[in-house]
């Protein structure tokens, strides 16, 4: 009976995920195409005739009803055809495929280390709940929450990349050929990403660890002589895995998307965030539409995966 129920709950989740994806595509298409700027006159020469205007409008699909245009766009999206950039004429799909590895190489180290540091600091604070360490970590995290991403970036740049500080790293750019040049360019952005997420991460992990530490299985483990390290890294971690994995996956859009948008714009790194920024300044509709839609669809896919993983790991969740 149970596998069947698990399967049906998974199918239900998948169906809801597909419905969400459909809603996301509808919303981004409506926002950016239906209410977007009229491109007719960008494509026309001076003093166009009535027929020329009608011709261009027909090419752009403006004469067809909304639902037909949305359907046609959705069809090409499913086939992986994202159209071509308005500014360069290049196909959008390979453009993004080329930029994505750069973005991942840029944000992954900071994302992972930020979560790891957050976990360790959260453990430290929770273990010494109410003590000096706890107050220090909590105070630091409130200060961290109050710093803007932008302020952290500029501060790190002054300290690490200018003659007024240590002047160790480049102020901008991404000429990565090998490991040492990678480290050269990725260090300051990584530190910035850690800085901006550490406050949130620490509070989250502290709350998770505190909740687990209060449970009875921990008391039992301690009664059986488990050391503090075993309690924290085995018993607490294993039981806190579901919320931790959920958070890791759910924070991807904020950290990866927002992080790459600001970091790549600031440091001039040719990833997805820079492409998005450039498309915005030049009004490149196909590129913007593709980025917004694919990010949202990808996020829904991550949610479904996270949910599926949690349900399989914890049979109690399959009931809900």
């Amino acid at each position: 009976m149970r596998p069947l129920r698990l399967l049906s709950s998974l199918l239900k989740r998948l169906g809801y995920g597909l419905a969400l994806m459909l809603g996301v595509t509808l919303l981004s298409f409506t926002l950016m195409v239906q209410f977007g700027p009229d491109k007719t006159f960008e494509l026309l020469g001076k003093n166009p005739t009535g027929e020329q205007i009608a011709e261009v409008r027909r090419e752009l699909g403006y004469d067809r009803p909304f639902i037909v245009r949305y359907g046609a766009w959705l069809g090409s999206l499913v086939r992986g055809d994202l159209g071509a950039s308005d500014t360069t004429g290049e196909a959008v799909a390979p453009l993004l495929a080329r930029a994505l590895p750069v973005t991942l190489a840029l944000v992954l180290p900071g994302y992972l280390v930020g979560n790891l540091f957050g976990l360790l600091l959260g453990m430290l604070a929770a273990w010494h709940r109410g003590g000096a360490w706890d107050r220090l970590v909590l105070g630091g995290s409130v200060a961290g929450l109050s710093l803007s991403f932008l302020v952290i970036i500029i501060l790190l740049q002054i300290l690490l990349s200018t003659p007024y500080g240590l002047d160790l790293f480049p102020t901008r750019g991404w000429r990565v050929t090998d490991l040492s040049s990678y480290l050269h360019y990725v260090t300051v952005p990584t530190l910035a990403l850690i800085g901006v997420t550490l406050g949130y991460n620490t509070r989250f992990y502290r709350a998770i660890v505190l909740e687990e530490l209060g449970r009875e299985h921990i008391r039992t483990a301690r009664a059986f002589g488990a050391t503090g390290r075993e309690v924290l890294f085995v018993h607490v971690l294993r039981n806190g895995l579901v919320p931790i994995v959920t958070r890791l996956l759910y924070s991807i859009p904020l950290v990866v998307v927002s992080g790459s948008l600001l970091l790549e714009t600031y440091f001039g790194i040719p990833g997805v965030g820079k492409i998005t920024f450039d498309a915005m300044t030049s009004g490149d509709q196909p590129v913007l539409l593709a980025v917004v839609t694919l990010t949202a669809v990808g996020f829904v896919a991550v949610q479904v995966l996270a949910d599926t993983a949690c349900r399989m790991a914890d049979p109690r969740m399959a009931q809900s």
Partner: protein, 279 residues
Amino acid sequence: MNPAASAPALRTREARVGLALLAVLGLASLAVALGWLAQGWDQAIDDQWSGPSLAHWFGTNRLGQDVFDRALVGLLTAFSVGGIVTVGAITLGALLGGLAGWHSGSAVDEALQYLMGVIDSIPIYLLAVALAFSLGGGESAIILAMVLSFWTATARLVRAEVARLREREFILAARAIGLPAWAILGRHLLPNTVHILLVQATLTFVAAIKTEVILSFLGIGAQDGVSWGLMLAESTQDVLAGHFGNFLAASLLLFLLLLGLNLVADALQDAFDLREPAR
């Protein structure tokens, strides 16, 4: 919970510091709004990049304008953008969350939850980019984007609370004596969600200010006038040449405002036992 219950929570040392910060910064921005302070912010009043002095606490910028005056005008921008976004998002969240919770389990509830799911799948920065693209940029596009994006967090919490309260005896009693739904909502349900709205308002305020700074820096937000995001954008060139006035003034005020809000948000969350996993 009675909002008066928040009074003791705001007597901790951290909360007092937070409230004091907010009071000072609030008064300063009021003085700017009323025209008592920082009125020469758009005039070149001295040499460019004159260092800090008694007349210009953070020196002057590239155009010879007083940096601290501009940072104070940025404070007013932060308060007004944050205020509009907070009022908009909290009102929308309370109304739609209340509606979904009151009809929890019905098609209305399902539809509203689906809508929240769709909106939550689009990161705020991309929603702002999309709206700025279709509306042609400017402060109103990013305010709209933030309201559209931020209301769902409040709505989910209000929905859960109202759905829970709806089954409680005092609400059943109110329904049994024939009180109309709007009266129950206004007299019994809304006052019982005020603590959620208060906490969410402080958190939304923080998010709105942070987002506005970054969007303005990226050129999606304020184009004329003064925003800390624009000052920080200017400072990225300045700091390479050794001029730190813009950076220090904008980040100092930004930090103090966010710190004040975060300290008060923490105290409120502790008081109402509303500590949810930080986002």
